[in-house]
């Protein structure tokens, strides 16, 4: 009997699931919009897995993948579950931030008071020269603005 054909769709399905999860985790802190492309990859993975399993059950003489089909589908479902879990955690801890200033956009002006009662505005921070450790003043190159959840 001739060797059966490799049921590549099953493996591609798992590969896409792994890629979708890894890609999402890797990029989500840069942009939250990566959720939808990742979900799309999972849909593509599901299509491949289903068609791979169907192909095997239609032509069991021709294709391999009886056990692989089950194992790889299960693994992909686990990937999808992890994706859902991470996405849920992200949505709980981080805001959507759809309208947060993008790279290339101007940050909105602010005026806030620090712990010593000193007022800081963004304009001041950008225009005041800074003094280095040897006392030489020079124009500021930029400002890092950090938002944090707070002290509790």
């Amino acid at each position: 009997m001739a060797a059966k054909l490799w049921n590549w769709r099953l493996w591609a399905g798992l590969g896409l699931s792994v890629g979708a999860l890894a890609g999402y985790v890797f990029v989500v802190n840069e942009t939250r919009a990566v959720f939808w492309p990742a979900l799309l990859l999972f849909v593509a993975a599901a299509v491949l897995l289903v068609s791979g399993v169907q192909r095997r059950s239609r032509e069991p003489e021709l294709y391999r993948g009886k056990i692989a089909g089950r194992v790889l589908t299960t693994l992909s479902v686990v990937m999808l579950g992890l994706f859902g879990f991470v996405a849920y955690q992200v949505s709980r801890v981080f805001p959507d931030a759809k309208n947060a200033p993008q790279i290339g956009q101007r940050a909105p002006e602010f005026s806030l008071v620090d712990t010593n009662g000193k007022n800081f505005t963004l304009t001041q921070l950008l225009s005041n020269p800074i003094t280095n450790s040897s006392g030489v003043a020079r124009a500021t190159k930029g400002v890092l603005v950090v938002f944090y959840r707070g002290y509790w």
């Binding site: 989500v28 802190n29 840069e30 939250r32 801890v93 981080f94 805001p95 959507d96 931030a97 759809k98 309208n99 947060a100 200033p101 993008q102 790279i103 290339g104 956009q105 101007r106 940050a107 909105p108 002006e109 602010f110 806030l112 008071v113 620090d114 712990t115 009662g117 000193k118 800081f120 963004l122 304009t123 921070l125 950008l126 800074i130 124009a139 500021t140 190159k141 930029g142 400002v143 890092l144 603005v145 950090v146 938002f147 944090y148 959840r149 707070g150 002290y151 509790w152």
Partner: protein, 86 residues
């Protein structure tokens, strides 16, 4: 130059600044107006259902334009690397 913004009161920030020996200013945005204008509000995300800020970092150049940004915590070396590019 770096500043850090939260919805904490000045008293809370002072406590944090002292305990963590921070050298940069902690700015208090009690009404979360600036946090809202950056679209970072997490409604009722804090203790006692307080509105708080999500974690985010923006590196602005001298014109106030965002050159790099990141959501969530990150390592300080990232800031340094990005700031060197300015």
């Amino acid at each position: 130059m770096a500043v850090a913004i939260s919805a904490d009161t000045n008293d809370e920030s002072r406590e944090l600044s002292r305990k963590a020996n921070l050298t940069f200013p902690l700015l208090s945005d009690r009404k979360a107006e600036v946090i809202r204008s950056f679209d970072l509000l997490v409604p009722k995300g804090g203790e006692d259902n307080r509105d708080i800020s999500g974690i985010a970092e923006f590196l602005l150049d001298s014109s106030g334009t965002v050159r790099w940004r990141h959501f969530g915590e990150t390592r300080a070396e990232r800031f340094v690397d990005e700031a060197k590019k300015l």
